[in-house]
């Protein structure tokens, strides 16, 4: 492990205040909040277009994204080998997240955090479901994290 990781984490209140100020600045400059999921949707669109352009361009959800162009980065590597439980769970969690975020029209940052900052009802509906499901499911997986 490198030195950076051995440093202590910031207290949650300080880090949260910093994150809140970054969010505030983003709203003041752009009029919207921050989101992380857009990049993954763009990448999924781009990969689908590479693999099966006819299907991707006919798809009702992907089509508007294709008109916006392709993601700049191509850093996703496919060299994933391993059967460790941790990786299978990471993949499964990723699939749920990849399905859930476009359904909810945003992710933890884009809808939960950014929507929360403008006190959108939508954000609090999302956050309540997010924490409720997480609490419920962690009861089944918690021993994997000991």
């Amino acid at each position: 492990m490198d030195d950076r990781q051995a440093q202590n984490f910031w207290p949650p209140l300080a880090a949260g205040a910093g994150l809140g100020l970054a969010l505030l600045g983003m709203f003041l400059f752009t009029g919207h909040g921050l989101g992380a999921n857009g990049f993954f949707t763009r990448t999924a669109v781009w990969l689908s277009d590479m693999a099966n352009p006819v299907w991707a361009e006919a798809n009702a959800y992907f089509k508007p994204y294709l008109a916006k162009g392709h993601p700049l980065d191509e850093w996703i590597s496919w060299e994933i080998v391993g059967v460790a439980v941790r990786l299978v769970l990471a993949l499964g969690g990723g699939v749920l997240t990849g399905f859930g975020a476009p359904l909810a029209r945003g992710c933890t940052s884009g809808l939960g955090l950014s929507g929360g900052a403008v006190l959108a009802v939508a954000a609090f509906v999302f956050l309540i479901a997010f924490f409720a499901a997480g609490l419920l499911l962690s009861a089944l997986t918690r021993r994997l994290w000991q």
Partner: protein, 200 residues
């Protein structure tokens, strides 16, 4: 002053993105063990960081609005689609409980050298493609129970402007009670996971 500046240029996004990633990283939320420990109630960092960020940003926006420097109606405020957001939120909660990440923290995890973050991202690409493939069949759920356009908690409750301040103070009070409860759970289970413990 006339905020927002409607400047969605590369620089604004890059600077905000930098601070976003930086504060997630220094709070330890790039670690799947800290994220999943929230849901076992051992480590309340996710709740504390998110709630503090929401209250700070909301209070700042409110302040700018009161001074008259902000056109609040020019901000992006999401419209509620109750079932899509309930099911989607639950899927992200389940995804984080199982996979250890959300979209934003998986990026932080990857850049601090975690392979499982990359696998999580691969899963997200599969999930999003599955969503798109079934987009027509999902239309019913996707559009169900649509709320008023850009509805805020203030609009929902019908509170006048001066009461918005009180509701913010109430949120802060709730957060404080949440922190106290969180600290009690943390101490019961051996305290928050420190960086030192993760590097051992």
């Amino acid at each position: 002053m006339n905020f927002p500046l409607e400047n969605s240029g590369m620089l604004a996004v890059l600077v905000a993105g930098f601070f976003f990633g930086y504060f997630l990283d220094v709070s330890g939320l790039g670690s799947p063990r800290k994220l999943t420990a929230q849901f076992t109630l051992r480590d309340w960092s996710v709740f504390k960081v998110m709630f503090t960020a929401i209250v700070v940003a909301a209070a700042g926006l409110w302040l700018f609005d009161v001074i008259g420097w902000l056109r609040f109606d020019a901000l992006k405020i999401q419209t509620t689609f109750f079932w899509a957001m309930t099911i989607g939120g639950a899927l992200l909660g389940a995804g984080m409980a199982i996979g250890g990440y959300c979209p934003g923290t998986s990026v932080v995890g990857l850049f601090t050298g975690r392979v499982d973050a990359l696998v999580f991202m691969l899963g997200m690409l599969i999930g999003t493609t599955l969503f798109a493939a079934n987009f027509k069949a999902l239309q019913g759920i996707y559009m169900a129970a649509q709320g008023p356009k850009g509805q805020t908690l203030a609009a929902l409750t019908g509170l006048p402007t001066w009461l918005i301040l009180l509701s913010l103070a109430g949120l802060a009070g709730l957060a404080f009670a949440g922190f106290r409860l969180g600290a009690w759970f943390e101490n019961r289970d051996g305290g928050a996971i420190s960086a030192k413990e993760l590097s051992e």
